[in-house]
């Protein structure tokens, strides 16, 4: 994280309705052609460019501004705070991190890496599951509750072993449906090789929750030779995605039934522990793993670009996306790069190991469609760029909140 680097700018990004100078902006309202009045980041101002212009200067200033951690200004929670984008980051920073601050939490990854007195390391992660509808093609909230936590552990290089399960259930909920969901959890746990070893049950008044909410936590041991860290990512490394992207998010959207769209898209929910084991055996210098759940591949790569202070360039033509998912996204006006997956991972591997990594993944049932989708660059740091299939390129930024469909 780059916290602290820009603390001087953390004050007062207020929306000003007047023409007064903005905090952090040059005092003069005129657009002067003179040199930048804001001290730019070291190494930024001096980047050699042939056509350095006023536009570049403005863009540099915006980049410095943009790298600040987003600030929480809302008084009430809204859906954007749960969408995994900038609003979520602001909430976590201002409320949770502020109160709980410690070194382990500050790493802000999908789970915590804890060192035992014996020197062994364990990974510990928790997640809540509130998806609606509870059942959709190919899975249910029960599968997700197990696979979500299993995958968070796997992304830290851990071998998932034990889990807890907590149920918050609405008064009047069908025990038959509960049984079905729990059976899904048991089956998923068996498949993932984890045991559910402790739990909790609460019943709340009708209307206080929507059916049933499930939280799970999990623990796994990290093998001694595994060291995954966003900061170890280097320019020239390759970015791999383990299969077709966007299936889960589109499956759930369609299963909600309010889009008048019909398509046969099952969720991709799957436990990734074994795939990770195979990948790490074939490409032992794998730098970084993350599962592109909420916020999708675009969000994972943006987080990586910021944490590692590198640029990520993707090739649109290389993105593995089902035609039917692409079609649904076109109709709805959303970008599959931001759509959730529940059985995919993004891996960054050194160029020398990319062949072995791909071969190992493609040999596993959950990695058949694995593909190299891009590479790490030195420049521009913190930014994800997509070379479009059409031959142009564009930025792929963090989302502000939930992706909202466009009107036309």
């Amino acid at each position: 994280m780059t916290r602290g680097d820009h603390s001087d700018e953390d004050e007062g990004l207020e929306r000003s309705g007047s023409g007064d100078a903005q905090p952090g902006l040059p005092a003069s309202p005129e657009r002067s052609e003179g040199p930048s009045r804001e001290p730019l980041e070291a190494g930024q101002a001096e980047r050699p460019r042939g056509d350095y212009s006023h536009e570049d200067e403005v863009l540099e200033r915006i980049e410095a501004w943009r790298r600040r951690r987003p600030k929480l200004k809302d008084e009430f929670i809204n859906s954007a705070h749960g969408a995994g984008g900038k609003a979520s980051a602001a909430l976590i920073d201002a409320v949770f991190l502020e109160a709980f601050r410690n070194k382990t939490l500050e790493s802000m990854s999908d789970g915590a890496v804890l060192e035992l007195p014996s020197g062994e390391r364990v990974a510990f992660s928790t997640d809540g599951f509130v998806v609606k509808p509870r059942r959709f093609p190919g899975g249910s909230v029960g599968d997700l509750a197990v696979n979500g936590t299993v995958n968070d552990l796997a992304m830290m290089g851990a071998v998932p072993q034990w889990m807890s399960a907590g149920f918050i259930i609405e008064d009047g909920f069908s025990i038959t449906e509960l049984r079905d969901l729990v059976a899904d959890m048991a089956a998923a746990a068996l498949k993932a090789g984890v045991q559910i070893v402790t739990g909790d049950t609460k019943v709340v008044n009708k209307g206080a929750c929507d059916g049933v909410y499930i939280t799970t936590a999990g623990v796994g041991v990290i093998p001694a030779h595994v060291h995954l860290d966003a900061k170890s990512v280097r320019p020239g490394d390759k970015v791999i995605v383990s299969g077709k992207i966007g299936d889960h998010g589109v499956a759930v959207l369609i299963a909600r039934g309010d889009l008048a769209l019909e398509a046969d898209i099952p969720t991709d929910s799957a436990p990734l522990g074994e795939l990770v084991e195979h990948l790490l055996a074939a490409a032992p210098n794998t730098r970084f793993l993350r599962d592109p759940t909420r916020g999708g591949v675009a969000t994972v790569l943006n987080e990586l670009a910021r944490e590692a202070e590198v640029g990520v360039v993707m090739q649109e033509s290389a993105l593995p996306i089902r035609n039917i998912v692409n079609g649904a996204c076109e109709i709805l006006g959303i970008d599959p790069l931001y759509v959730a997956n529940e059985g995919k991972l993004v891996a960054v591997v050194p160029a020398e190991e990319v062949d072995a990594a791909l071969a190992a993944m493609q040999a596993h049932p959950f990695g058949v469609d694995a593909a190299v989708i891009g590479e790490i660059r030195e420049d521009p740091p913190g930014i994800v760029i997509l070379n479009t299939g059409f031959g142009g390129n564009r930025i792929v930024d963090m989302l502000v909140g939930d992706p909202l469909p466009r009107i036309c």
Binding site: E14, R15, S16, G17, S18, G19, D20, Q22, G24, L25, R31, E55, V58, L59, R61, I62, E63, W65, P70, D74, F76, I77, N78, S79, A80, K86, D258, L259, A260, V313, M314, E330, L332, E352, V354, D355, V372, E375, D379, P380, I383, I385, L386, N387, T388, G389, F390, G391, G392, N393, R394, I395, D397, V400, G401, L404, P405, R406, I407, C408
Partner: protein, 380 residues
């Protein structure tokens, strides 16, 4: 994807681009794409950085979400917060700020605000909730207005009395005129709005060449559509022609859609004037329900504050919309005004010129090196 990939073919694009580069040599051309959908395509596919430097695109006023003034958003929130109301809206309208926050914030405060994909969805919600008042936030140009009109007619036929319309439909020709009347404007032609023209046809744009001496080519929404339309504009200029042409023939009939126009005329009439964010009041530029549909008019059914909220002073959206300045030249762009905290209209929707530039455009011109996707380098 069939019927889409054909219009995104890089080889065909290179061919058109080489013609564009030849024709545009030696002069700097500035074309305005009127429609927000075009702006979105241009940025999504990175079209600006494949065009020669002699062709510049200016992003026009055709984003229906962006042009809704702050006061109308406040009115919408007031209706949404009325007890017993279910307020329905298209998705990207939900984050548009008024003087007093946006609809998502109203929802967080407890208002029942729901996202719909079609006005007919709103009518369905009304039928399913007879004890509630269901209001649809109607926005959009002539593109979306016919579906709203059909919904009102259906509500009438079915006798649905708990459904009403907060109507903010606007029309495309008046703002085009307003832009053309602007003294500081310097354009060489227009990419005409494709979706709007499927309804109104090409004839309403004839005043552009006739009165203002500028060519207009109605364009589709795929990358090759945009490139071809640019080429058609350059050809007109090269051959000394100045007329309305249709690139989007696979969707736009010359006379539009008579059935849709008839329904529009049956349900709506022109308002004497309407405020546009960034452009101010434009006369006869918006639609309201005709008197016989008064029972379905939310502005009559609910008390809306109707207070005008001035555009923030720091905002230079008007100049951006007219192509006088580029988004990055605005003094609040990217710092005080960002997609998270938009001040002006152009930053509001992803179709807005500033939001599109902020989200997709920054920095890319330096990064055109393709990714090496081949595997580990093989020994020779």
């Amino acid at each position: 994807m069939k019927f889409v990939d054909e219009y995104r073919d890089p080889a065909a694009a290179r061919q058109i681009l080489s013609h564009i580069t030849d024709l545009a040599e030696g002069h700097h051309y500035k074309f305005m794409e009127v429609c927000g959908g075009h702006t979105h395509t241009i940025y999504k596919h990175g079209i600006e950085n494949v065009l020669p430097e002699t062709v510049e695109l200016v992003h026009g006023p055709g984003c229906p979400v962006c042009v809704i003034p702050m006061g109308r958003v406040d009115d919408a929130i007031a209706v949404a917060e009325t007890p017993g109301v279910i307020f329905t809206s298209f998705g990207d309208m939900m984050r548009v700020p008024g003087g007093n926050g946006n609809l998502l914030e109203a929802k967080a405060r407890g208002a029942d605000v729901r996202m719909v994909y079609s006005p007919l969805d709103a009518l369905r919600i009304a039928i399913a909730n007879p004890d509630k008042q269901v209001v649809f936030f109607a926005v959009g140009f002539e593109t979306t207005a016919p579906s709203t009109a059909v919904t009102v007619l259906k509500a009438m036929q079915k006798g649905v009395t708990n459904f009403s319309l907060f109507c903010n439909h606007v029309t495309i020709v008046p703002p085009l005129k307003a832009i053309l009347e602007s003294p500081d404007l310097r354009l060489d032609g227009f990419l005409g709005p494709g979706h709007v023209s499927t309804v109104i046809g090409n004839r309403p744009y004839r005043f552009v060449p006739q009165k203002y001496g500028l060519p207009l080519v109605t364009a589709g929404f795929e990358p090759l559509d945009i490139l071809q339309a640019i080429l058609m504009l350059l050809r007109q200029i090269d051959e000394g022609r100045c007329e309305v042409e249709n690139q989007y023939t696979r969707a736009v009939p010359e006379h539009g859609n008579p059935k849709a126009l008839e329904i529009l005329n049956q349900v709506f009439e022109l308002r004497p004037h309407f405020e546009w964010r960034g452009l101010g009041f434009i006369s006869q530029s918006a639609l309201k329900l005709r008197e016989e549909f008064a029972p379905w008019d939310a502005e009559l059914r609910f008390s809306v504050p109707g207070v005008r909220v001035a555009d923030p002073k720091a905002c230079q959206c008007g100049e951006v919309l007219k192509g006088v300045i580029k988004p990055w030249e605005c003094k609040v762009f990217g710092t005080a005004c960002t997609p998270e905290t938009p001040i002006g209209t152009c930053m509001v929707s992803s179709e807005g010129a500033c939001a599109a530039y902020y989200n997709y455009g920054r920095f890319t011109k330096h990064q055109t090196v393709p990714v090496e996707l081949t595997r580990t380098p093989q020994p020779a």
